[in-house]
């Protein structure tokens, strides 16, 4: 059977042209339409003695797996503050809220999907319709930037526990506080670490390949790395800012391979981190050191998905499970976390936990739920390192709301674990250097 198709051509061509227009229109729609916000807020009745705290995380979207862990950590902290779970003695959260007559905190979650606009909308919703007294979140630096702007406008304290973009505390905000150390410190640590390594190994580690993703975080990291390599006489052999959420990374890795630097400094979220490791292996590229900037490389999914292929990467951290040897409280809290959510803490979730603890501490000292009182109490925060599950000296905010007592550590994946390798005084294992080639593992 053959069909007479020639005759139909004239008719076909008009519909096709319309179809093309339609196609382009829809593609444009596709490119510009952001998914509307799914919200996770509960609408239950509000008890008198309930203090509502808004928590904004990426609960759907590409970073949802991280968001879910952060949420679990925040909920664990809240449960401890509310005495639903007994917190280990000595920890800040164990104090509860005695000055608020044992009131309970309730976390109201918002989902920003990794989108700064959605983050701002969620902050607004939590403040205006959920009547939260303080906000925390949002993991992504760019979302924290927009969401905290909304909080600043409404005069509601915003405590950020896990975004590390340095500019966040350079905005002269009155209502913004950050517990975690920021990228300046972390990135400065990298260079100090490399200098230490040079002394120890006698090997030249002066040529760098910068490999960072292209959102706010990656861009700021790049700027800082460029400045610091200049100051400390390092040479940048290759600088790549790649589009996040990509289908292939061969062009990136090829450029790195061609430049052949001694050290790769990489900033990637989870999906890209996994894909880049796969591409390194595919193209047989192993630099002598892969120095990752936390995030995707420290997500608990990273090793779970990559297994042995994730070995030997070095990353900065704010937290590591092996630090439990230094502080027995860490082990106890981690056991509780694993019991409840089936996962260990990591640097991200430990900081989220700490964020809620700090808010609760401020609420208690404020003895009030008025935003201004909470802000004042936050400003006066002075928590010793022993009350935290972080390897910090403590928490004390400077005039810009930045915690002055935070510090970072450097970890390496060895035998499926993140072990602390630097600074030497808190290291638990010697570093494996250089990173073994793929065919010699």
């Amino acid at each position: 059977m053959r069909f007479m198709v020639g005759k139909a051509k004239g008719h076909g061509s008009t519909t096709r042209r319309q179809a093309i227009t339609r196609f382009v229109a829809t593609a444009a729609l596709m490119a510009t339409t952001a998914l509307t916000g799914l919200t996770f807020g509960s609408t239950g009745a509000r008890a008198e003695d309930e203090i509502r705290i808004g928590v904004i995380y990426p609960l759907t979207g590409a970073a949802a797996s991280t968001g879910v862990e952060l949420k679990a950590a925040a909920e664990l902290a809240a449960a401890m503050v509310n005495k639903e779970i007994a917190a280990p003695e000595g920890l800040t959260v164990a104090a509860g809220l005695p000055r608020l007559k044992g009131a309970k905190i309730k976390l109201i979650f918002g989902d920003h999907q990794g989108n700064p606009q959605v983050g701002a909308t969620e902050a607004e919703r939590l403040i205006t319709s959920e009547k939260v007294v303080a906000l925390t979140g949002a993991y992504f630096s760019n979302v924290t930037a927009t969401a905290s702007q909304v909080a600043e406008r409404y005069g509601v304290p915003f405590l950020n526990a896990e975004s590390s973009s340095a500019s966040l505390t350079q905005r002269n905000f009155k209502w913004f506080f950050r517990t975690t150390p920021h990228d300046d410190l972390f990135v400065t640590n990298f260079f100090t670490f490399l200098e230490d390594m040079e002394k120890k190994t006698g090997k030249e580690l002066r040529t760098l390949g910068l490999f960072n993703e292209n959102t706010l975080w990656g861009n700021e990291t790049t700027k800082l790395q460029v400045r610091l390599s200049d100051e400390r006489k390092f040479k940048i052999a290759e600088k790549i800012i790649y589009p996040a959420k990509t289908t292939q990374m061969t062009s990136e890795v090829q450029r790195l391979k061609a430049a052949n630097p001694a050290v790769i400094m990489q900033s990637s979220y989870l999906g890209d981190a996994i894909l880049s490791m796969k591409t390194y292996k595919e193209l047989g590229f192993s630099p002598s050191m892969l120095l990752a900037n936390d995030a995707g490389f420290n997500d608990s999914e990273f090793l779970k998905t990559l297994g042995k292929d994730g070995e030997y990467i070095i990353s900065r951290e704010v937290w590591a499970l092996d630090q439990a040897e230094r502080n027995p409280l860490i082990k106890k809290v981690n056991d509780l976390m694993r019991e409840r959510s089936g996962v260990n803490f990591n640097g991200n979730s430990a900081r989220s936990f700490t964020g809620i603890a700090v808010l609760a501490d401020a609420l208690n000292r404020a003895g009030s739920t008025k935003p201004e009182d909470i802000r004042k109490a936050l400003q006066e925060t002075n928590i010793p390192g022993s009350g935290l599950i972080m390897p910090w000296k403590g928490i004390k905010f400077d005039a810009n709301g930045q915690n002055e007592l935070g510090q970072g550590i450097i970890v390496q994946v060895q035998g499926g674990q993140y072990v602390t390798v630097w600074p030497t005084e808190v290291a638990t294992k010697p570093i494996v250097f250089p990173m073994p080639a793929w065919d010699k593992r």
């Binding site: 059977m1 053959r2 069909f3 007479m4 198709v5 139909a8 051509k9 076909g12 061509s13 519909t15 096709r16 042209r17 179809a19 093309i20 339609r22 196609f23 382009v24 829809t26 593609a27 596709m30 998914l35 759907t60 979207g61 590409a62 949802a64 797996s65 968001g67 879910v68 292209n214 790549i240 800012i241 790649y242 589009p243 959420k245 990509t246 289908t247 292939q248 990374m249 061969t250 062009s251 990136e252 090829q254 450029r255 391979k257 061609a258 989870l270 999906g271 996994i274 894909l275 796969k278 292996k281 595919e282 193209l283 047989g284 999914e301 779970k304 998905t305 990559l306 297994g307 793929w438």
Partner: protein, 288 residues
Amino acid sequence: MTADILLQVLVSGLLIGLIYALVAVGLTLIFGVMDIVNFAHGEFLMLGMYASFWAFALFHVDPVIALPFTALLLFAVGVIVYQTVIRRVLKAPMLSQIFATFGLMILLRGLAQFFWKPDHRLIPHSLVSGNIALGPVQFGLPQVVAALGAVGVTGALWFFLHRTRLGTALEATAIDREAATLMGIDGQKMFALAWGIGAACAGLAGGLIATFFPIFPEVGSNFILIAFVVVVLGGFGSVTGAFLAGIIVGLIEVLGGFLIGPEYKTAIVLSLLLIVLLVRPKGLMGKA
């Protein structure tokens, strides 16, 4: 040294380009037959990846061996989607059609996240793993197998469309729905077939890349925009065009990224889209 690197880059571009081609072939087929843009096409890819993942996790079936099963499953998904959703909006205004597939995209993503969690997953020990070195050029075996699979599937589809009665009937429906109906071809059946095959192509692409690409509910969004560019470049509805365009886009993306800078690789691909629309809106092999 430089020639080696260039060769390697070309090979990498070709390998990923063939995958783009396979994803786009399904999209262009559905569009060609019924002028509906399937926004949920990336989600078919995602379902294909998860099908491979679960076949591996639950029954220890390697993704490569599970391919026929993945294809059948996604074929069924495509037909079901057609029967339950698309059939109802066939005569509806354009906007309704857009929102139907757009909504389907959100639904499938949401369901995937709900049932399978937002975790990133990988298939750890596929039959195909490791590298082959051919002189200075390195190939990842999973990538090579995926690319060869893409060639095979596209070839089979081409054969089906041009050398079998059923395929010719499908082509006829694509060219002129009414005339085809007058010739005794059941339009409804053809539409369902197009959705089945389109989804199966995306599913096969998913199964093929599941050996090396992380699997997560949002994975479709990484591929869909490129698939649209490929469809435009290849010419709407043209399977051969989409195949060639996939390779071209892959090469341009990887080569452009390497030579000009990876930060511009998306921009390069999207500029290509603009240039095609301005200079040759019917694409390489379009019939406009």
